[in-house]
Symmetry: C2
């Protein structure tokens, strides 16, 4: 059993490292624990776009922004600073543990270049993930069994991705897709759609949630047959309903989507 880090009431005298998630980007959905970590931090590390959402920062805080592709470098820098006695926050969007910085921080810890890194006072502060934020905007599509898959093949083979999609479709899970479509690999999203269309009905509900909670938020409720790949990019979470997912037409053109708590005996 491990003690609860959130119950600590005072900052320890030596450095620490906290990995936070901003949630979807709306300050009204940012956990007070993450807000406090940002306020107490001396060093703030993260991808440029997320730091803009997390700021503004004070003059006495050092901000280390970077490109999106250097997760492990950022994690190492965080340990170096914290081991040197600094109070360090690593910023992710959404939940830091879902296709985000907490994993890179763990990787850096395991490979620790300096034994002092293992002594660092380390906390992961969870956040509201992009999938849950997108789901809430339309109702409860993740209300029953679901899976969360990344379509990016930067670090895993495409064959593993298609196999997982195939099995998730067979299991009739609702499927939340992260990193669905970049300019460099637009064809893969089309391939994934083709695979899912073989398994699920054309009228299956699909939700495209982009930049949820930010000024440029877009939420689209569509179907597996009608989905327009041009509306999908790396900032979109795509939620594919199961055979049971239902759409409710409400007033003012609003559509709600949910996956019931029950499941029929035989399909």
């Amino acid at each position: 059993m491990q003690t609860n880090p959130h119950s600590r009431t005072q900052a320890k005298p030596r450095g620490w490292l906290r990995v936070i998630g901003l949630g979807p980007g709306d300050p009204a959905l940012l956990a007070p624990a993450a807000r406090a970590a940002l306020s107490e931090a001396e060093e703030i590390i993260g991808y440029r776009t997320y730091l803009q959402l997390a700021g503004p920062f004070r003059d006495d805080q050092r901000v280390h922004d970077s490109d999106n592709r250097v997760e492990l470098e950022r994690a190492r820098q965080a340990f170096q600073l914290a081991a040197a006695g600094r109070r360090v926050v690593v910023v992710s969007s959404g939940d830091p543990g879902v296709f985000a910085m907490a994993t890179a921080v763990m990787e850096a810890l395991e490979q620790a270049e300096d034994p002092a890194w293992r002594q660092v006072d380390l906390d992961i502060i969870p956040g509201i993930s992009a999938a849950h934020a997108a789901a809430a905007r339309v109702g409860a599509p993740l209300g029953h069994d679901f899976c969360t898959l990344s379509l990016s093949d930067n670090l895993k083979p495409w064959s593993v991705i298609t196999r997982r999609l195939q099995l998730a479709a067979e299991a009739d899970l609702v499927i939340a897709l992260y990193n669905p479509r970049s300019r460099a690999r637009a064809h893969q999203f089309s391939e994934a759609l083709a695979l899912l269309r073989e398994q699920r009905a054309p009228e299956t509900a699909v939700i495209l949630g982009r930049s949820i909670g930010r000024a440029d938020e877009q939420v689209i409720v569509t179907t597996l047959a009608e989905i327009d790949p041009a509306q999908v990019d790396m900032r979109t979470v795509v939620i594919i309903g199961s055979s049971q997912t239902r759409v409710i037409d409400a007033t003012e053109g609003r559509r709600w989507v949910y996956t019931p708590r029950w499941y029929p005996e035989e399909r």
Copy 2:
């Protein structure tokens, strides 16, 4: 496209209904939007145990507590009150969209006994789910593809559950199990474990997270071979690692668990 409810700055004059998630239970992890909804509410509806975490409430707020098995009744009551012009909050733990009240609220909306229910100003405010909170306490076990399954067969056939477990295991997904084991169906958790043990190595990392963020929090890092079912109940989230999930032994007996961002070419 739909407008962002969180950007509303003033309460509307007529009633409203907000479905909130408390997150894991620690106030430091409660979204400010959920806190504000609780403060503005005239009627607060929920399962007794969760209302105790959400309170205390003011004398001018009416609290409707109930047993845990009457989700749909609670949802209907919420619409009745909101349609009558009251400001109503329905309280869930974790994220309201994950095996929680948002689904029952959608069901009540679809079956609306009174057309006025469809006019109700309705928002779902997401929260930090129990799985993400448990994951954060040990590192980043959900850092790669994962699925979230409920083991309860109250509303779905056990055959659907075992089929999904089997396919999720074949897909080598990390598996987060909700409602893993009640007194009435203790044998089902054992059956699920037996199924997973056929597919995954005995040393596969398993996390048991119970009452995360609350006074009686328990976090146990164990393995698929060594898991003790007596340590698992309905308040536990069980996270079963994939073939890639790794454990790091840190100082002071602390163990971190994460699932790497990369996946090998061939298994």
